[in-house]
Point group: C2
Chain length 361, copies 2
Amino acid sequence: MKAKAAVMHRPHEPLTIEMIDLDQPARNEVLIKTAFAGVCHSDLHYMEGLYPRACPCVLGHESSGVVLAVGSDVTYVKPGDHVITCVSVFCGECEYCLSGRMSLCVSPATRRAETAPPRMSLNGVAMPQPGNLSSFADHMLVHEHAVVKIRPDMPLDKAALIGCAVTTGVGAVFRTAKVEPGSTVAVTGMGGIGLSAINGAAIAGAGRIIAIDRVASKSNLAKEFGATDFVDASAVDPVKEIRAMTDGGVDYSFECVGLKQTVEQSFRMIKRGGCATVIGMMPVGMRFELSGAEILGEKRIQGCAMGSNRFRTDMPRFVAFYMRGLLKLDLMISGRVTLEQINEAYAELKKGEVARQVIAF
Amino acid sequence: MKAKAAVMHRPHEPLTIEMIDLDQPARNEVLIKTAFAGVCHSDLHYMEGLYPRACPCVLGHESSGVVLAVGSDVTYVKPGDHVITCVSVFCGECEYCLSGRMSLCVSPATRRAETAPPRMSLNGVAMPQPGNLSSFADHMLVHEHAVVKIRPDMPLDKAALIGCAVTTGVGAVFRTAKVEPGSTVAVTGMGGIGLSAINGAAIAGAGRIIAIDRVASKSNLAKEFGATDFVDASAVDPVKEIRAMTDGGVDYSFECVGLKQTVEQSFRMIKRGGCATVIGMMPVGMRFELSGAEILGEKRIQGCAMGSNRFRTDMPRFVAFYMRGLLKLDLMISGRVTLEQINEAYAELKKGEVARQVIAF
């Protein structure tokens, strides 16, 4: 079948809107009519060539939709079901999947790039499927382990955000770091993931939640998500400031930017025995430096892959949090655009002044 | 009272044996007749000026002894009790002590340097008490929270090792990293701490325990402590070797050297989702570099302070492990020396070819 998609032909060039071809669902696949796709920062890294990607390809990995058709073996969803897509498809058979760490699964069994024949093409040229999804298209053909079924009364624009930013930011707080009630938390970078981490810390009952950003105007937004304090990193040294505010450092920090400086600062702003969680997608080859003397105070730094999430367990929980008014997804969506406006939407994102835009199909 | 001690007058000079003065026990203090003191690598760092220390002073922090006298408020021990000393004295009142992380306590309440008047002096000049102990002396005057009482049938030479190397290495496995049965473990550096970590991993039921050292002759010793494999880091790249041996990396690595290169290697030899624990005492100002892409595979690196130990709970357990034949302390002691031979003992240690020497008083 045909689908309308935003195609990346090579880095540093605008995406172009094209009609692409999708195959029929194989036995374990699901065809989805895309409802919404988030304009997420990690795709910008691909467009800017910071991570290599085989081209042409269709990016996009934070989406929601309605099931149109399923392969012969699929029983988990049926046509008409509402779903959130998962950028981390799980195999359900490996050590990671079977120990509650499915976001670490790298099994080729469910990976799109490994599937032969390819599932999508442009003018007869097979295309890989980045993130196993390719959400910048009005239809998606994905593995059944790349979808999570949600209740039909959940608005699909908010649901799309749960596909990446929310799962990652809230999951980092709940699952990667396991923040306890009453503890102190600092979050650097008030994009979709950072605001989700703030929101997750508020739901988890953190005692003090400090938002850090270089754009002072994000203070109010951060506070609406649950931040108790805001530090303007363009005006003060955030490490000094946070150490002073918290008598030596926070229990938990979350880095949601992906820069050497912010990773190092996130480690330095935790107290003895504290834990820094690195979420921001860092450019290929990026390295960061830590102090030996500091780490010996039982400081910990750890990476986070998709919020250490258990997709089919956790995404419906996030939906429930939204429906109860605890997850502030209405505030997170700063604008809606059409697929044709995708290049402008990314130009906006790059300025760093918007929270999360979604593409409406 | 008078005590015979090895005094450091300044870095890079031999210690000299002198008669020093100890005060009478204050209300919460314990006077100990030292039985044995370990020749531990961290004191070498002080002697070589890598960490600044006020001089003159008496080093030594891994010791056992017999209680001679106690202050008026002390009820935990009485004269005649056998004790192990703790380099991390605990206050019993702070957030860390009261959350099971007493090795992170930095409360001044129990710290020797903070005590006025000073507890020891040389020719009328007050001396600080490094590590709150100063074990290179035939008597020690310490805070009651710096001792753990042990059963009297435990040999005191082996008991001394529990004061630092064993508590740190075994504790890093049990408490800091929480190694599970069947998991894969790699330990870099086969000194007292590294051998203890190997031994701890064996007691914890690790499935594969890989010892790494640049001295190939340590292979047999490591295996006696429980290592299943040995990697000679002077002959091969330990990261490549371990990744090949374990299909991508170990679950847990332990760094027991304290060098930039070995810290970085310890991080790189863990698998996706793995955990590196840094124990080795690093020189002041030492920094290490990690790869952003690697940490995002949910890798974790954390420091370890005295094995995250709960001294009064854990040290008697270690004694029991020794008495049951599980903790191989007999193998760890490579030689006995007198206090007068301390400079020669450190020269031996520096060569890297001995496991653990103890000073017998």
